[in-house]
């Protein structure tokens, strides 16, 4: 059965919730799809041990007139209809306008030992812990790059982890320059200050990265390279992430053009959030990493524009410009050290789904040829992890198009469209 929405929003994080609220304020029928069981996205992910923040609570209760389709994964698209899969089967959702607020994923880079149980993303372990992952008393090292490391360490500590240290790859100089600029975004400055205060006593080291992880069937120790040499640290968990990259899987499936000349391109949009595809808008991290303020303001702009009220959208544009300036500061302050691109050896598995070592890709310059010969990127995650990693390593160009199903789906979810090739190709 097909449900029809005036405005359909994909993603119930800060951008998607703002878009839904804005669109619903014009009396439109609005639906919000999210793959997670609860709204909030990654930034406002529900923590089983903690009440939601006031901002999260407010954003979630503000969509009381919106239909929330939680636990729905988008698997395919045809015309102005998305097919989703939930625990109850397949659903077809038709839209007048679509807002893509698909957010970001963590950039995870290969290094020797990164496939050991106990090695996770930094935001990854934070998300797991918020949903009950047993961390109390565990020795955890947080590493990688960006402001997310502090937020992750804070959550881990709140759940009882023993955080041994935070290792940021950016140099002390880059961090000092970042801090010197931060006063221009007072909310961000306050947030950073309060995190640093709460994390007093946890060593924070710049110019440092994890070069290898060791263990038999599970993580036992890591090696950290820093300004003063290499050091081995015994730990139970390594939470390592190199910042965020836009999640453009669905936008690419819909044919939305991406930004040019970017290693991890976001969706190309104009000031109102129009993508290159008619009636399809995008907002927030999917259009380039900018943080919470950008997501909320762009979500509201796209929501108004999707509901046909360009005047309300235009009124918010100056705030968007200001918020987006923070994206540039983040990108240059936490630019990755080229040494990180050389951590994986030819034997290091890069495609975790198919166990393809980096060396197996050496003879290929073309993504398609490499995939066909090595099966790299052909497994369950469909290249979500290795694709971004290889783009960061400069091995292959970032993907542009996308074929369905967007996520592995049950055959009966796809079968309802048997005979329609656009929905069944490649499954």
């Amino acid at each position: 059965m097909t449900e029809r929405y005036d405005v359909l929003v994909v993603g119930a994080g800060p951008a998607g919730l703002a878009a839904a609220q804005a669109a619903a304020s014009h009396g439109r029928r609005v639906g919000v799809i999210d793959a997670q069981a609860r709204p909030g996205g990654q930034f406002w992910r529900h923590d089983i041990a903690k009440a939601p923040t006031r901002a999260a609570q407010a954003a979630i209760t503000a969509i009381d007139r919106v239909e929330l389709l939680a636990g729905h994964t988008v698997i395919a698209s045809e015309g102005q209809t998305l097919r989703t899969e939930s625990a109850h089967g397949a659903h077809d959702l038709e839209y007048g306008a679509l807002v893509l607020a698909t957010g970001a994923r963590e950039l995870l880079l290969p290094f020797p030992g990164w496939t050991l149980p106990g090695v996770t993303g930094a935001g990854g372990l934070q998300a797991l812990v918020k949903q009950g992952w047993p961390i109390a008393g565990k020795r955890v090292v947080v590493a990688g790059s960006g402001p997310l490391l502090l937020a992750a360490a804070d959550s881990l500590r709140a759940h009882g982890a023993q955080v041994l240290g935070i290792y940021e790859q950016a140099s002390a100089r880059a961090l000092a320059a970042f801090t010197a600029q931060l006063w221009r975004w007072p909310a961000r400055a306050m947030q950073a200050l309060s995190l640093r205060t709460r994390l007093a006593g946890v060593p924070y080291r710049s110019g440092s990265h994890v070069r290898a992880a060791f263990g038999d069937d599970t993580l036992e120790a890591i090696e950290i390279t820093g300004p003063h040499g290499v050091r081995r640290v015994a730990c139970d968990h390594l939470a390592v992430g190199y910042g965020l990259v836009p999640d453009t899987g669905l936008p690419r499936l819909l044919g939305c053009a991406l930004q040019d000349n970017a290693r991890h391109p976001g969706v190309r949009v104009d000031a109102f959030g129009h993508t290159s595809v008619a009636n399809v808008f995008a907002a927030g991290e999917a259009c380039g990493i900018g943080g919470l303020a950008v997501a909320r303001i762009e979500g509201a702009i796209a929501g108004h524009a999707a509901a046909g009220d360009d005047a309300s959208a235009a009124a918010l544009l100056p705030r968007r410009t200001r918020a987006r300036r923070f994206s540039g500061l983040l990108a240059c302050s936490f630019a990755l050290d080229p040494r990180l691109h050389a951590l994986a050896t030819p034997q290091t598995v890069v495609c975790r789904c198919e166990d393809v070592p980096l060396g197996a890709l050496d003879d290929f310059s073309d993504t398609r040829a490499a995939r066909l010969a090595s099966r790299c990127g052909m497994g369950a995650c469909q290249g979500r992890i290795c694709g971004s990693a290889l783009a960061e390593l400069g091995r292959f160009m970032p993907a542009t198009g996308r074929r369905p199903p967007l996520f592995p789906a049950r055959l009966d979810s796809l079968a309802a469209s048997a005979g329609d090739r656009s929905l069944t190709t490649d499954c």
């Binding site: 069981a37 089983i48 995870l108 106990g118 935001g123 797991l128 949903q131 009950g132 975790r352």
Partner: protein, 82 residues
């Protein structure tokens, strides 16, 4: 049960977790490995948000369920690939 916990089984072992816990957190109480890679290496959750598929397990007979995306429910039977 009236203890406010969700009771399920992971690899046949009883596990009790608070409301709001996902299957990944329930499995972690019993096993460090979630699945075996194509070459037999143990694997466990990596991304925590449904992208990497390293946490997939069998839930009530359904294979390839992402443990990190699935709320724990009373009576669930979860099986890792260890």
């Amino acid at each position: 049960m009236s203890d406010g916990l969700i009771h399920l089984r992971v690899n046949g072992q009883p596990v009790a977790v608070p409301e709001g816990t996902n299957v990944a957190a329930a499995v972690a109480r019993v096993s460090t490995g979630f699945r075996r890679s194509v070459h037999g290496e143990p694997r466990a959750p990596l991304c925590g948000m449904g992208a990497c598929f390293e946490c997939r397990v069998r839930v009530d007979g359904h294979a390839n369920v992402r443990a990190c995306m699935t709320p724990a429910r009373a009576g669930m039977q979860v099986q890792t690939d260890d």
